[in-house]
């Protein structure tokens, strides 16, 4: 080999490079921990502020009240968390809840005389709610996975469709549950067990199941893999379409469960039922540290996000700094600010 006219410079010290590597890895980990802790810090700060603004805030009753109200959105958020991690979105959950609530009430009123007891009618109603939720979710999933339509478009469409059908069934007014059935059904929302209201128990159960499903099962891993990069998942022999359909179905069932808890509260459904729930559910997931672009997310974060949002509205209720009417505006601002903080570099 002829001698090279110019000489190569000495390679840079390997130690320097290794140090830089370790530094970068540490920085990344710190960033991630901050993202996980962010919602918790936010919630603590809010609670301190609430206590300072109104002494009634830090009472057991108020805490139970806030958590019970969180339950509906919280349960839907758990399902939403899966959908968002998979790289999708569901804008229809509020309308879906309204339609399920209306359908459920109509079925219970109609079926009560045939099944003999109001209790049985309530059970039938619950089954109807879950089946409808699952069916709507499957429809979304099939259109998105097999039909290859953007989830945004599919669920924007059904957002309109679901609410229009409820309005049609209700003739523009309200669908109301018969009193005898409402009396039997009431405890599902109002009763407590061990001093804690039923909806909170259900919320906790759903969240726990969601956590196990996401972190400890094949299905959960596939959801993350698809959201992180669908092509890679497909090439790695993951059943992408089936997993997506299942994910929207689970969200539908979560909406069903939330509706089952919600109906006994007012005993009626109207065109304003579940209005803007999609905003709250998506906000809870995002505030909880799940990136909207999918791939990774946390159920616990989502639960904290949901609680954080209802604490905000609770504080608005208890104090008069900002009008209660601006609740949705505050939630809207929160979601934008959090998304701003989460945005990746470049």
């Amino acid at each position: 080999m002829p001698p090279a006219p110019t000489e190569a410079p000495a390679p840079p010290g390997q130690a320097v490079n290794a140090d830089a590597k370790a530094d970068a890895a540490r920085r990344l980990r710190r960033q991630r921990r901050l993202r996980e802790l962010g919602p918790v810090i936010g919630l603590v700060v809010l609670c301190l502020a609430g206590t300072w603004l109104n002494p009634d805030f830090a009472t057991w009753d108020n805490a139970m009240n806030v958590l019970t109200r969180t339950a509906f959105i919280g349960i839907i958020s758990v399902g939403m968390c899966f959908v968002i991690i998979s790289g999708g979105i569901d804008l229809s959950v509020g309308s879906m809840a309204a339609l399920i609530a209306g359908s459920m009430i109509l079925v219970m009123n109609w079926v009560a005389p045939y099944v003999g007891s109001p209790l049985r009618a309530v059970l039938v109603g619950m089954v109807v709610a879950l089946v409808l939720g699952a069916a709507f979710g499957i429809a979304h999933g099939v259109l998105i996975a097999k039909g290859r339509i953007e989830p945004f478009i599919v669920t924007l469409g059904t957002l309109g469709v679901f609410r229009a059908y409820l309005t049609y069934f209700a003739n523009g007014g309200a669908i109301t549950l018969d009193n005898t059935i409402a009396d039997v059904y009431g405890p599902v929302y109002y009763a407590s067990w061990l001093g804690v209201p039923i909806p909170i128990w259900v919320f906790a159960g759903v969240a726990l199941l969601g956590g196990v499903l996401l972190n400890r099962t094949r299905y959960g891993r596939y959801v993350q893999a698809i959201g992180s990069n669908e092509q890679v998942a497909r090439y790695a022999a993951v059943a992408v379409d089936r997993t997506k359909i299942l994910t929207y179905m689970l969200l539908g069932m979560c909406v069903g469960v939330a509706t089952v808890l919600y109906v006994p509260r007012l005993g009626s459904a109207s065109p304003t039922t579940g209005l803007l729930w999609e905003l709250e559910a998506i906000a809870a997931v995002i505030v909880g540290g799940t990136a909207l672009k999918g791939g990774q997310g946390r159920i616990l974060g989502t639960v904290i996000g949901a609680i954080l949002l209802s604490v905000i509205s609770n504080i608005l209720n208890l104090t008069s700094i900002i009008s209660v009417y601006l609740n949705a505006a505050v939630q809207g601002f929160v979601i934008i600010v959090v998304a701003f903080l989460q945005r990746g570099r470049r």
Binding site: M1, P2, A4, P5, T6, A8, P9, P11, P12, N17, A18, A20, K21, A22, A24, A25, L28, V212, N215, R216, T217, R218, G220, R221, Y222, Q224, A225, S228, N229, Q231, V232, A233, R234, Y235, A236, A237, V238, A239, G295, Q296
Partner: protein, 494 residues
């Protein structure tokens, strides 16, 4: 006049990965410089820094003696430096004229001055010897024509230093010859040309000087005429080629593990038949776009409308998805590591076990046994990482590729298809991967290697199938394997 460019200790980091380790050399004005190096040597990154697409993490780039930092490709263009990408940067829906003037449209008052732009475009096209209507949408042009449009675009921007990244990857020999004539003409008019390629015969034909990079470091700068192709290859690889491969073990005569008959993928592959025997390494050579990747994507059920007979270990199978393929013992590793091979944001462990999660579910996933699998794979495949908990994207290209190969081997396939297994990988990792491929074959698996690196096909394979325009052009066995033979069949000039 021409530009004199000097790199002094240029460093580039992508996150924690350092891809350029202080590179220093000069580009002599008015000459054609061949920039040589294997995949992952840092050629493209260095040129992107020169052309303003990337910024250096350290070191100095001087143009005509003035230290310069180009914040964007526009800034580099203003200085007369233009990079023509391997995948072209043309807006397919816009016309040739619109593309040539994209971002610097001429105006008459508030409106576009269409006629002047058209005239100037026509002039630039003439200069590069392309006769197309400047009002044609670029999407309708052939690849070679698109490339000439790119060069015309550069010419119309008064480029004084032109960087061409693998310009002949998709060209026929005639088109290549025409391109070389154009490059010589540009040089004689005073333009400096940097020519990136790993086709050494072309480097020999067209360049005046060569610079060799290896693993992000400068190796040497010299006159092309003073180096033989063998010497260039050895400089790129950094060791004698024979040292890169293990002893070749003959394949067995047992019946084929994978048998494909009359397989077609609409638009890409037509009536392809081949067998892979146990212990055999079968290569697939061909130009970009010859349909090799698409053939195998069709085989594992990723392309609808594919037809043909496939048998694995003698049993006819219908593979409708990669899932079916994996279940039948056929694994495919994509050439597109970041887009299709690995989840770069997920952990090493999640990536490794994804294809075979069932093994770790009882029914809940057992994190500890997955961890053991990762520890085993790190040892077995020589994946170098200090920390098992980092994101996969923080690994170097070579270690990512080893992880990707470990991943597709998790389900225990009988036939492994590796598409461009050493793309973007440093020389050390390359050698590891070659030895691994040969070990897989020695274990009695069938291995298919799709590769554009002729050296690796020649060094590894028992047989090589050359594809051209979607059809099998030739099947060469080890004794017939030479670069000339492969290129001749791939380009249809045999």
């Amino acid at each position: 006049m021409s530009l004199a460019v000097r790199f002094s200790r240029v460093v580039k980091d992508f996150g924690p990965v350092r891809v350029l380790h202080g590179v220093s050399f000069d580009i002599t004005p008015g000459r054609v410089l061949g920039l040589l190096g294997e995949n992952g040597a840092g050629k493209s990154t260095l040129m992107k820094i020169l052309a303003g697409y990337e910024s250096a993490s350290g070191g100095v780039l001087s143009v005509n003696g003035v230290p310069s930092v180009f914040a964007s490709s526009r800034a580099a263009e203003a200085a007369g430096i233009v990079l023509i990408h391997q995948e072209f940067n043309l807006a397919e829906h816009l016309t040739v004229t619109q593309n040539i003037f994209l971002g610097r449209e001429l105006r008459k008052a508030l409106l576009l001055d269409e006629s002047t732009m058209r005239d100037q475009a026509l002039q630039a096209l003439q200069e590069v010897g392309l006769t197309v209507d400047p009002d044609t949408p670029t999407g309708e042009l052939m690849v070679a024509e698109k490339q000439l449009v790119e060069i015309a675009k550069a010419v119309s921007r008064h480029a004084r230093l032109l960087v061409m990244d693998e310009p002949t990857a998709t060209l026929t020999p005639t088109e290549t010859t025409r391109l070389f004539a154009l490059i010589r003409r540009l040089r004689d008019q005073g333009t400096t040309v940097v020519y990136i390629s790993h086709k050494l015969d072309e480097v020999e034909r067209i360049t005046d000087d060569i610079v060799v990079l290896r693993d992000g470091q400068f190796v040497m700068h010299g006159l092309t005429a003073e180096h033989t192709r063998q010497q260039m290859a050895n400089l790129m690889v950094g060791r004698e080629l024979s040292d890169m491969f293990a002893e070749r073990v003959p394949a067995s005569d047992a019946p084929p593990l994978l048998s494909v008959r009359h397989f077609s993928v609409p638009g890409w592959a037509h009536d392809v038949s081949f067998d892979v025997r146990p212990g055999e390494i079968l290569g697939f050579a061909g130009l970009v776009g010859a349909g090799r990747t698409e053939l195998f994507e069709g085989l594992i059920g990723l392309r609808s409308g594919s037809s043909g007979e496939v048998a694995i270990a003698g049993h006819a199978v219908a593979l409708r998805s990669p899932r079916d393929a994996a279940a039948q013992g056929l694994s495919y590793l994509s050439e597109d590591r970041k887009g299709r091979g690995l989840h770069v944001q997920l952990s090493l462990q999640d990536n490794l076990t994804l294809m075979d999660l069932d093994r770790y579910a009882r029914p809940l996933l057992d994190a500890r046994s997955q961890r053991r699998a990762l520890e085993g794979a790190v040892k077995e495949f020589g994946i170098r990482t200090g920390d098992l908990d980092i994101d996969t994207g923080s690994l170097s290209g070579g270690n990512q590729q080893k992880l990707a190969i470990a991943k597709v081997l998790q389900p225990g396939p009988r036939v492994v298809v590796l598409d461009e297994p050493t793309r973007g990988v440093d020389v050390g990792a390359k050698r590891d991967i070659y030895f691994l491929v040969q070990r897989l074959a020695a274990e009695g698996r069938g291995v298919v290697i799709i590769s554009s690196e002729l050296i690796e096909l020649i060094g590894l394979c028992h047989r090589v199938i050359v594809m051209r325009a979607g059809a099998v052009q030739a099947t060469l066995d080890a004794r017939q394997l030479t670069e000339e033979e492969l290129i001749a069949h791939a380009t249809g000039t045999h």
